[in-house]
């Protein structure tokens, strides 16, 4: 049995920042990371991050992952357990984790859940053919293993992930036949769209995938246009020859542990799925549990890092650490979040966060 002050589930940008923040205030921290190397999805982000210097803007995701990890590893108050998956939070607050087929019991005083998000799947005939991958899977193959997913890709979704992965495919020498997007406008940052357009990769809004075909693996896809009510326009079908279809149709928060821990949950469309109801310090309705990053609403890695710091300060402070410094640090993190979310591209996130705030006030957390 491991007794620890703060257990952090997930060593991605949110989890690593949470660990640093909590340890800075003096709390002892254990990070359980299911992967061999912590960093979460940062390990496959080859592009430079947006935001401001406080969120390491201008640095590439992989580099950010590296130095967040460096800080964590060099901090004696933080222990990192890689290859370790937290599998359950039980009724008595005990946590079970698995590492190399062994069960580890952890008895934390506070838990910060920073499990991130999972990729959404899409319904169309043939949607399970080998060669149809989530965009994150393509990144993992390409940017972690250095293996290309195929020779010619149809990218479904023109949010930031779809646009960025198309660019990364080009960097790996893979052709993207087209980026299609059901919505009439591009959802991701326009600079990303411009970047791939000038490589000759067409971004086609108002298009969806109607079907994937192939004998045992993807050989092509039929795309077609959508009308304003998202109905397929008959006769607009086009055949796209490709051996890979990459689905970048959004993420949904990975909240299993929040459900298990009895946190009050709500479906918030703007935050991409069911999320735990939290207060402004990122505490859930289970007072033992805090959340940070995509698990509380799918957003950018930059905001995940700031949320991580905020949750780390809050959890440490609730244990009596940094009582004098924590309030200003928390306020600083909240101001950073407000700034990141101030622009028109964050309208949705702001609405989602406001919905949660209202529900929490009503519930009287």
């Amino acid at each position: 049995m491991i007794n620890v002050e703060i257990l952090i589930v997930g060593g991605g940008p949110a989890g690593l920042c949470a660990a640093n923040a909590a340890a800075d205030l003096g709390a002892s921290v254990l990070i359980c990371e299911r992967d061999e190397i912590p960093g979460g999805q940062l390990v496959k982000q080859t592009h430079k991050f947006f935001g401001s210097r406080k969120q390491y803007a201008g640095d590439r995701g992989i580099a950010i992952g590296d130095f967040l990890l460096d800080e964590v590893i060099n901090d004696p108050k933080i222990e990192v357990m890689p290859d370790t998956t937290v599998i359950g939070i039980y009724e008595d607050g005990l946590v079970l984790a698995e590492r190399s087929e062994e069960i580890i019991k952890i008895n934390p005083r506070k838990i910060i859940i920073a499990t991130g998000a999972a990729e959404k799947f899409l319904t169309f005939p043939g949607n399970d053919l080998p060669g149809i991958y989530g965009a994150g899977a393509v990144q993992t193959l390409m940017n972690v293993a250095g293996v290309i997913p195929g020779e010619r890709v149809l990218m479904v979704g023109a949010g930031n992930i779809g646009l960025i992965v198309s660019y990364q495919l080009a960097q790996a020498g893979v052709e993207t036949a087209a980026v299609i997007e059901g919505a009439p406008t591009i959802g991701g940052y326009l600079v990303h769209a411009s970047k791939i357009q000038r490589l000759g990769i067409p971004v086609r809004t108002g298009y969806t995938i109607k079907e994937a075909y192939g004998d045992g693996k993807v050989e092509g896809a039929v795309i077609c246009r959508l009308d304003a009510a998202w109905n397929m326009i008959e006769g607009s079908e086009e055949d796209i020859k490709c051996d890979t279809i990459c689905l970048a149709v959004g993420l949904t928060p990975l909240t299993e542990l929040c459900w298990q821990a009895g946190c009050e949950m709500a479906f918030i469309r703007e935050l991409s799925g069911h999320v735990p109801l939290i207060d402004k310090y990122l505490q859930t309705t289970n007072p033992k549990i805090y959340v940070a990053g995509d698990v509380s609403g799918v957003e950018e890695a930059s905001s995940a890092m700031v949320e991580g710091r905020l949750a780390g300060y809050s959890a440490a402070c609730s244990l009596g650490y940094g009582l004098d410094t924590a309030p200003s640090l928390q306020a600083g993190a909240m101001a950073e979040l407000d700034e990141l979310r101030a622009g028109p591209m964050s309208d949705r996130i702001r609405q989602g966060v406001e919905k949660v705030e209202k529900m929490v006030t009503k519930g009287g957390v």
Binding site: Y90, E91, Q260
Partner: protein
């Protein structure tokens, strides 16, 4: 939902749905089943769904035997399009103590007297049926090849769909909030969706049974007790029967789908509505089951969950009209074996309520047996 019914059944588990079906089949009209959440959301949907005829009392063995016959043709019997998932791979009941083994041999006589085809096996014989069984410390086993298990959801849905075709109404996501009486007669049920009149109310609400009777100031000795189950990933078929040990309180079966379902009883479990999962259950169940069935060390658990038995002091149900509230019947307290006896039990209660002569006399399940001390102690429970 109408304003008045002849009969209201509280509880959309297998007992309530089978009752609705059997009553409608006997020509009763105006029947409403009220379910707090969705059908099977209580004990039925959380149970191991074993079907066992190897009981230690004549009444339970007979009910289970006749219910098995019904399970064998449930789709045809109810007119259900789906597959109720009956798998008669048998029950292998293993004896780890001498006392147990002696009791089993007594049971065997009783069971043979009821034409239940139970075989007595030495450890080697048990191993022939379950080749991966660890026979260390085993005295012997009994095996009934027509025992097995079924899909609790499809069985309940079969009864529910059949009942609906016969005119029964089912109100899901509707909770009973009160009972109304006039003098010593029941006259209706208050629900979250409004009041409904009814001269007959059947309390088939499982572990909530005493909460329901308390609404008219009456007690039945039925209380909730958590039992937990885990299920594994599916693998190709290797195990026919349910393997069960009363001594170690565990059971383990492989479903037709390929998953293993197993559970273990905890004698220290308190009375409570708690259905959360515990890590202790995982440890206890894994430790015991992999001792008896070592090959299962390598299979992966995909889910664990808790459910509530509707326990009674003698692990047998209360099936009786409530004294002082005529028209209110309690059918609850099955203590973990409600699923396997539901088909026949429903027929007998329907027979009683429609004036037919019941096939089996259920007076041993009367509510006053706890006062008179005539408990029906069942030696064969997990």
């Amino acid at each position: 939902m109408k304003k008045a019914y002849d009969i209201v059944i509280i509880g959309g588990g297998i007992t309530g749905c089978a009752l609705g079906f059997e009553l409608a089949k006997r020509g009763r009209k105006d029947i409403l089943i009220i379910e707090k959440e969705y059908l099977t959301s209580g004990a039925t949907g959380r149970c191991g769904a074993g079907i066992r005829q190897q009981w230690g009392t004549v009444l339970n063995a007979t009910l289970a035997r006749d219910s098995t016959y019904l399970f064998e043709n449930l789709e045809e019997y109810t007119g259900y399009k789906g597959d109720c998932g009956l798998n008669q791979g048998g029950y292998l009941i293993v004896a780890y103590t001498e006392a147990e083994w002696t009791q089993f041999q007594k049971n065997l006589e009783l069971q043979h007297g009821l034409n239940i085809p139970v075989q007595k096996l030495d450890p080697q014989g048990a191993k022939e049926i379950v080749p991966h069984l660890n026979t260390e410390g085993l005295y012997g086993a009994t095996f009934c090849p027509t025992d097995g298990h079924a899909d609790p959801f499809h069985c309940t849905f079969a009864y529910a769909k059949g009942a609906e075709r016969l005119g029964v109404e089912i109100a899901t996501y509707t909770e009973v909030t009160g009972l109304r009486t006039a003098g010593d007669k029941i006259i209706g049920v208050e629900t979250t969706k409004g009041y409904v009149q009814a001269g007959t109310v059947i309390n088939a609400s499982g572990y909530n049974a005493s909460a329901i009777t308390k609404m008219v100031g009456m007690e039945v000795p039925v209380y909730p007790e958590r039992h937990q189950i885990l299920i594994t990933e599916p693998v190709n078929h290797i195990q026919d029967p349910m393997v069960i040990s009363f001594h170690y309180h565990f059971y383990c079966q492989q479903t037709p789908h390929g998953s293993f379902i197993m559970g273990i009883g905890d004698p220290t479990e308190p009375v409570s509505y708690n259905i959360q999962s515990s890590w202790k259950f995982m440890e206890d169940c894994a430790t015991q089951v992999t001792h008896s069935l070592p090959i299962l060390k390598n299979i992966r658990v995909v889910r664990q969950w808790g459910g509530l038995y509707d326990m009674s002091p003698d692990a047998n149900p209360v099936i009786d009209e409530m004294k002082g509230a005529s028209g209110l019947y309690t059918v609850a307290g099955f203590s973990g074996h409600g699923f396997m006896v539901a088909p026949k039990t429903a027929i007998i209660i329907a027979q009683q309520l429609t004036g037919e002569k019941p096939d089996i006399d259920l007076h041993l399940f009367s509510a006053n047996r706890y006062e008179t001390g005539e408990l029906l102690l069942e030696p064969s429970v997990v």
